[in-house]
């Protein structure tokens, strides 16, 4: 009985740890995408202004 609860919480523990790290990696990936989009936008803006 206690054993089962024990095991369950242990899995929760490992799960929680992995979820936190994965959540952070996802955040980084989203930020990367946002930065790339902004970089493209700014590069286009520079090209436009240079053409003028």
């Amino acid at each position: 009985m206690v054993e089962a609860r024990n095991l369950m919480y242990m899995f929760y523990g490992f799960l929680a740890a992995w979820l936190i790290v994965i959540f952070y990696v996802v955040m980084i990936a989203m930020r990367e995408k946002r930065l790339h989009d902004e970089l493209d936008r700014v590069r286009r803006m520079v090209e436009e202004r240079e053409k003028r």
Binding site: Y9, I20, I28, R31, E32, L39, V42, V46, R49, R52
Partner: protein, 227 residues
Amino acid sequence: MRLKVIYALSLIASVLLAFNLYKVFMVLPDEVNQGAIYRIIYIHVPSAITCFTCFFTAMVSSALYLIRKDMRFDAVAAASSEVGLVFATVVLVTGSIWARIIWGIWWTWDPRLTSMFVCWLLYAGYLMLRRAIDEPGQRARLAAVLSIFAFTDVIIVWKSIEWWRTEHPGPVLSIRNGGGMSPGMEAPIWWNYLALVMIATVLIMVRMRQEDLRREIDSLRRWAHAL
């Protein structure tokens, strides 16, 4: 080149972690008093040591920034503090889950838990401070000083189980003269630490690349407005 390093480290880390996971779950016996739940130690403790390593890196970087005024040190400090905060979160969460089983409560205000929580708050405050300042030089300078101040709490967290009687278990690792774990059971902690440090390094490197990207965007934007 850097990308190759990132991939290589990730691969090694994954292998290490997989091997350790196998060892932790299949090979090691249950601990006498705690049953299966004690295996959380193999995430909880390595995360904690990784977290402190990251914050130590941030402090050294901050000090180097103040001495050399090289913005790359500022980037390292920012990235390590962020990654350190992630691992600090892991420590607090895995610790509470463990505590729920062993002590019956999710949390208690003993010196170690309190100082660890304070550590979390301080580095979250560090990230907020960085967000609040727009000018890069001022941001780097103030953040560097805050990082050095915040590290004093890391020292308190580390030493808290020696200075006070805490509910948190006392020193057991061999490096702390605790002698509480048999070598066979302690080894996976250090292997996991190695894996986690590699993961932390990968994350820091990725994060630093993003800081470089941001700097490039800022300078391009300034150029665009100048045209």
